[in-house]
């Protein structure tokens, strides 16, 4: 090797060449699809397949080039400490992986840009700056916040959502915007922050390398005194299950509320402030506020099911496996943590809504919506409040459902099952795209008779789901079954009730087989809460509890 930077670059390539080759293969498949005409013309709307492949490629680049190494305890570690012995400067150690990350993400973006952007108002250069900066922020967060462990996902998630929001800001300004809200201004701000992040990461690695250890966080002394002063847990736990709940809550339960709070404060909050004089944005922003827990829970739910989220070691930690708790109790605790996490996330959402709507929102559009709902519900104010409460309850159950749906996969503690489920999901998405599933509503509304086959499909799924549940729950203690059935029953009833309310309003405007579509809505609502999969979790945990 001619120099240390090239050697480092070569090491990065050797380590991640599989992922990078995979990205190139996806790109080639997409091009071949366009050339053969199977995906559609380049000049048309972005193909769903392209969007999916590009999203997978971007996530893979971020995943591969985070440049962290797993430590012996299984947790995703921090900056690779083995490199500290190399005869290179700390600047080089930090700059090379960052430049490699930036180069990869930029190449990827510009390789896909033509296929994904058709006449949008945002310039490709601005998006390129955002991608490069995102890579710097991402790597800095992973390296410098190692003490947060799995909670770094919260910071990474907030960075991602914030960068996404910044990308939309220039297009949302009406009239002549100030320099700092133009693409140039925002690019300058983001680049300066990225430079600061780089310097911070460099200093951090240099300190680690010189055996300085992790720098104490700012105001550490004050924080320690504050923590001591706050009421903390002094007593022992009343039971092993209570201790396990506390442990699970610390490890996974608080992630979702933190992530939701971060998105609301750092993204929705600024948007709601900047757009406070434009009433047209109120209802979409309220919608996105209410959708935040659901959208965040969808990806987080995949990790929540695991015993140790975001690790490469999928086995149950011996610390958990040897606890004096049955597999059912461990699963029950996980479900309770999921319920508390979902409920707290929605409390955060409601708290944010109260502060925002009562402080700086122009409530007229929301008021018109409520009046229309009131008129359609027989002028009943109670019905409006009832629908609002039902919507929030359904949101809580939907969030809860997304957290526990993959519990059985996590309890398998098998990388094979996890990878298999990911491939299955990927295959399902590809098949759906191939079948143009996104045109389903259009197809459904084109002819009232189209409702019937869908309703029969849902009916078959419903029957299969419940017979499978009768099988998977056969060896589970009645107490656990009763507790879960209660939650399942309330959740399902709420889904059905809201589907009927929404359908009662939507049907007025949609030429469709009204009764058939109502049946379809009920059947889909009955399918939403997981039952068979949850019954599977205790048995797979019992089988894999002590396997490494």
């Amino acid at each position: 090797m001619r120099g240390a930077p090239i050697a480092l670059g070569w090491a990065i390539w050797r380590r991640h060449r599989g992922a990078l080759v995979g990205i190139v293969v996806l790109n080639v498949i997409s091009w071949l699809g366009h050339l053969s005409g199977a995906v559609g013309p380049l000049a048309g709307e972005p193909a769903m397949l392209d969007t999916l492949f590009a999203a997978i490629s971007i996530l893979t680049v971020f995943g591969a080039l985070g440049y962290v190494e797993t430590q012996e305890d299984g947790n995703i570690g921090t900056f690779p400490r083995r490199l500290f012995a190399l005869p290179v400067s700390s600047f080089c150690l930090v700059a090379v992986p960052m430049l490699a990350g930036i180069a990869c993400i930029e190449l990827l973006y510009f390789a896909w840009a033509e296929r994904l952007s058709h006449g949008g108002s945002t310039s490709p250069l601005f998006i390129g700056v955002l991608f490069a900066s995102s890579m710097v922020f991402y790597q800095t967060a992973l390296w410098t916040l190692a003490r947060l462990g799995a909670l770094r996902i919260v910071v990474v998630g907030v960075i991602a959502v914030a960068m996404f929001g910044i990308g939309f800001l220039p297009g949302m300004v009406a009239g002549e915007p100030s320099f700092w809200r133009t693409e140039r201004g925002l690019a300058a701000i983001v680049s300066a922050l990225a430079l600061a992040a780089f310097v911070h990461a460099w200093r951090h690695v240099a300190r680690l390398r010189s055996a300085g250890g992790v720098a104490p966080p700012p105001f550490a002394h004050l924080r320690a005194r504050l923590t001591d002063a706050l009421p903390g847990r002094r007593r022992g736990f009343s039971s092993a299950a209570a201790a396990q709940f506390w442990f699970e809550w610390q490890r996974t339960g608080m992630v979702l509320p933190l992530l939701v709070g971060g998105v609301l404060v750092l993204v929705i909050g600024p948007y709601s402030w900047f757009l406070r004089n434009d009433p047209g944005y109120l209802l979409p922003l309220v919608f996105w506020t209410l959708a935040t827990p659901v959208f965040v829970a969808a990806p987080w739910g995949m990790a929540f099911g695991q015993s140790k989220p975001w690790t490469e070691d999928f086995s149950i930690p011996s610390f958990v496996a040897t606890k004096p708790l049955s597999a059912q109790q461990l699963v029950a605790t996980k479900i309770e943590v999921a319920a508390a996490s979902a409920a707290l996330s929605w409390l955060v959402v409601l708290g944010f809504l109260v502060v925002w709507l009562l402080s700086w929102a122009d409530l007229t559009p929301l008021s018109r919506f409520a009046i229309q709902l009131w008129a359609f519900q027989g002028e009943s104010v109670l019905a409006v409040y009832g629908i609002a409460a039902l919507t929030v309850t359904v949101g809580v159950f939907l969030t809860f459902r997304l957290l526990i749906a993959n519990l059985w996969i996590g309890m398998c503690s098998s990388s094979l099952v996890l990878v298999g489920s990911a491939i299955g999901l990927f295959a399902a998405v590809l098949t759906a795209l191939q079948l143009d599933v996104y045109r389903l509503p259009e197809w459904l509304l084109a002819d009232p008779r189209h409702v019937t086959p869908l309703a029969w499909g849902a009916a078959l799924c419903l029957a299969a789901k419940h017979w499978l549940a009768a099988r998977t729950w056969r060896a589970v203690a009645p107490g656990f079954l009763r507790s879960y059935l209660l939650a399942w029953g309330v959740g399902t009833a709420c889904f059905v009730a809201l589907s009927l309310v929404v359908w009662g309003i939507v049907r007025i405007y949609q030429p469709i087989d009204g009764r058939g579509a109502q049946s379809l809505a009920i059947l889909v609502a009955l399918l939403l809460m997981p039952l068979a999969r949850v019954g599977l979790a205790p048995s797979v945990l019992a089988a894999n509890r002590h396997r490494r």
Binding site: I371, W374, F376, V384, W467, P511, G514, G516, S519, I522
Partner: protein, 269 residues
Amino acid sequence: MTAPDRAPAVNKALAALAAAFTVIALALPMRGQTFTYVKLDGRDVRMLIAGDGGPTVVFESGWGEPLETWGKVQPAVSRFARTVAYDRAGYGLSDAGPPPRDGRKIATELRCALVAAGAAPPYVLVGASLGGPFVRVFAGLYPGDVASLVLVDPTNDAEGLERGDDPELAALPDTIAQARSSAVPAGVPVVLIDAPGPAELPFATAEIRESRALRREERAAESRAYEAWLAGVPGGRLLSTERSGHNVAQEQPSLVIDAIRQVVAEGRR
């Protein structure tokens, strides 16, 4: 030595639940609606025909609305009379029709569609909003076919109407002129539902209250115009409600159902 306990093949309680859900799953997809499609000059017109017993109640929707707009009214009326709701040409799932889309063309097409569907007169014509002028034109063109008229907050003759791009709105001034010149046939009862909306609204911001205050006089003029028109119609009745706005069929369906029930009963006597 005893054999170890083996788990049962299924959980009995959940098996019972599965059996119940299987029944539900089999029953729900059978609850479909069957629409009637009739051909008018090669174009499809979608109709929903339900119930039994004369006179036939025909629903004419407002501008741009599909027949589903009568979803809260038609099932109830179908319990005591034969009912027909349909999509006018170009709306819902009916094919677009040739211009002009004025009252006369629409009334003619409606009569042809009713005949093609086997719905024999006499008809109780129920028209909401823009459907009001259309059923008045129908009554003028086919006086012998009409048993009674129910006008649900209809588009007013006196309204300051502007032409729009939509074919029905483009022909609106002509439709209004045709409705004005169409006399209600002698002996045909007319019920007009005037829905100025509630005086006070919950959830209203100051801006909404202000805009409603400005529209109050406009709405009062509309009510006076209804009264003036009904004064010239023997047997005309005005039902005024403050419990509903313009979408009476959704907001206060019971009022429409009761009005139809009344005229159907009178027709049978």
